[in-house]
Symmetry: D2
Subunit: 144 residues, 4 copies
């Protein structure tokens, strides 16, 4: 029962680099989120929605970590592969691996983890954990 | 009847630099906005608010331009001075000058312009220009 | 003798939005640069290089402006089309139009202009304007 | 022998927020780095330098993690306090706590950890771990 995975590719853009000549490390966290959002988009699942009763549903981040093995430079072609590390009642933990294209060979440059919580937010902004919808659970859970 | 001005200072942070070793030009536009926001804060005026009828008031940008004279590097101490170029019925045009501290001497490194529109936004997201509130006009208009 | 044009498409990513619920205006300037870089990449021309004598060649920005007509939201599909407004001895002025995909119809949301200077930089960091290389002039100039 | 600590304060700026109305989580990592850089600046220690032999010394990040307890909103006044979790031969591990000013009471909103490696980089870009300089060790080590 392997977990589903999802991958995107992108190039390091100039505004993502820093004066050390490499991609600034904060962008790895942004790329994890881009991978998560594209994954949901591919499944036709919303990241944010508002119910008819005005309750806002969303997925705020609970924690995120990343280890940096090799630097990325402007123009580098990178593949980000997400997988599901854990699927709780109200939370999802993702793992991500970053590979760089080195002359046709994908070399790992970083790996990270991010966990998110499904929440409902009322009009006052108060957030409360909310059970993961069945269609999300079906899409992200281990395949039979 | 000189127009009021407002200034902030800040240092170039590492994540704002790029692989050319200088501050990425997109940050000059962010700094204009930071100056504008701090100006409003110093006057105790909100940048965004919601009326009791649920109408959201705000100041979206209409256009912004900037000319770059000298590069900024990580750690550079910079002063951003805003002034009012024009105050319309529903819009404000600001001018900004950026100076770098070079051994105690402030040297111009860039200058820009940004215009904003005061808008009301209904629940559907539709925006409509709205007269500038009198207290904003009083604060940003030429002093008597 | 029409000028060449070049277009890219991309989606508004969540980290590019702000608390007003729309893409932060500073990202339009970044997207102009991404379009410029992809244009050069498509022509196999470098944006930065170092000569055998250690001289660094590059294209710092001289000025950039943008007018914002309609807001962009997270997930919006956007096309950025660049064209050449002027080609000087040492500088290039680009024009950019941003269109949003509204149910299959491309609607203009913003337009901007950016000018860059071709420079050489010695080991001390001093920059000096440098004639545009013939291969760049050939690629960006009006087609015969 | 308590470890030294260092704190900075800053406000959440509008461009740091996202469409969920809160500070985008990627900025917490940037703020850890700003705290680290200001700490070094306060000690008059460089973050990057080049030896007379052309060797570049720096502190690339090895990993960074952060847990998010409460959201931050535009204008929130935040204190970031860094401390030393571990001081190795060639690496430093920092811990950071983020507190928000809630009507004069500092409330924890996030906590993180970042480890960096002291490296030397030759002209080809190859990086190698390098012993932490004695003046850095003296400044960041436990006080007697």
């Amino acid at each position: 029962m392997p977990s589903p995975t999802f991958a995107i590719t992108r190039r390091v853009e100039f505004h993502e680099t820093d004066a050390a000549g490499i991609m600034h490390f904060s962008n790895f966290y942004r790329w994890m989120e881009v991978c998560e959002h594209e994954w949901f988009r591919s499944l036709n699942l919303p990241m944010m929605s508002t119910t008819s009763a005005g309750i806002r549903l969303g997925w705020p981040r609970r924690d995120a970590s990343c280890s940096f093995l090799r630097p990325l430079r402007c123009g580098d072609h990178v593949r980000i592969t997400g997988s599901i590390a854990a699927l709780g009642d109200t939370s999802v933990s993702y793992e991500f691996i970053f590979h760089k294209d080195r002359a046709g060979k994908w070399t790992e440059v970083a790996n990270g983890r991010m966990s998110t919580v499904h929440v409902r937010q009322d009009a006052t902004g108060r957030m409360e954990a909310e059970a993961i919808p069945p269609e999300v659970r079906a899409a992200l859970g281990p395949s039979a």
